[in-house]
Symmetry: C2
């Protein structure tokens, strides 16, 4: 398969495939002229990479898990750590969501006079709630995939 076919089958842009190869996340099995040749195994590897990304692993971490070969050495401890991290994130986001819902139909004349809102403000100022980078990044990603013509 050449790069266009891999891109089509996996949904991953060719530029990304080249980038992944450069970072040793995937391998091409050879060249036809200048053109890279991939075998079908790359699709499974791309699925693994997508899974790792979804779980919040960086490309570098994923590169560590997927050896250079096709073997896969995933550390259970690493998985549990990541799950713990997600637990924390989920808790913070849940608190924030509840706060937003409350603020949306709170009857106080101004949000600044709602005690619950003020409490949330204090928590945020103290850094207890994180900086909410998740949704912002997700939005950025959506923007990129729907360019303005």
């Amino acid at each position: 398969m050449d790069i266009g076919e891999v891109a089509k089958l996996s949904g991953v842009p060719a530029s990304t495939l080249r980038y992944y190869e450069e970072k040793c996340l995937i391998r091409s099995v050879g060249r036809r002229g200048l053109r890279r040749l991939f075998n079908a195994g790359v699709l499974e590897r791309l699925a693994l990479i997508a899974l790792g990304r979804s779980a919040g692993f960086s490309l570098d971490e994923i590169a560590g898990m997927l050896g250079t070969q096709d073997e896969l050495r995933i550390d259970r401890h690493q998985l549990n750590e990541k799950a713990d991290e997600l637990d924390g994130t989920i808790r913070r986001l849940t608190a924030m969501r509840d706060g937003l819902r409350h603020a949306a139909d709170c009857s106080a004349p101004s949000h600044l006079e709602c005690p619950r809102f003020r409490r949330l403000m204090g928590l945020a100022a103290a850094g207890a709630l994180g900086d909410g980078s998740d949704s912002r990044k997700a939005r950025a990603r959506r923007r990129r995939s729907t360019p303005p013509e």
Copy 2:
């Protein structure tokens, strides 16, 4: 108050305060020589900004909510939208966390042979799980705040 005092009281670095002023998120009330002077109200404004960031609003969105004056025009609809967004994120993260926990003590000889793991792989490859940018960014932030000497 000069910028150092605001930084100390709020925990927000002076460089960030200047940056926020440039973006019209906060205002200084004047100068003493070259030096900016702030009044105490800026602390409440910074708490609001922190809250907005925690909720996942961008600085530009926050600038829209905090008028140039000290009034605060928060749109309840906007809050509900953000809460909906968070609901989605929470659902995705929860699915991922459960998948990770399962993978961590799944008895299949290789993860590639665990049906549940493979299902998760498929979902991730199809883009149903997002790209997990939240935890990566959080890690980056932690790294920055604990520099290597």
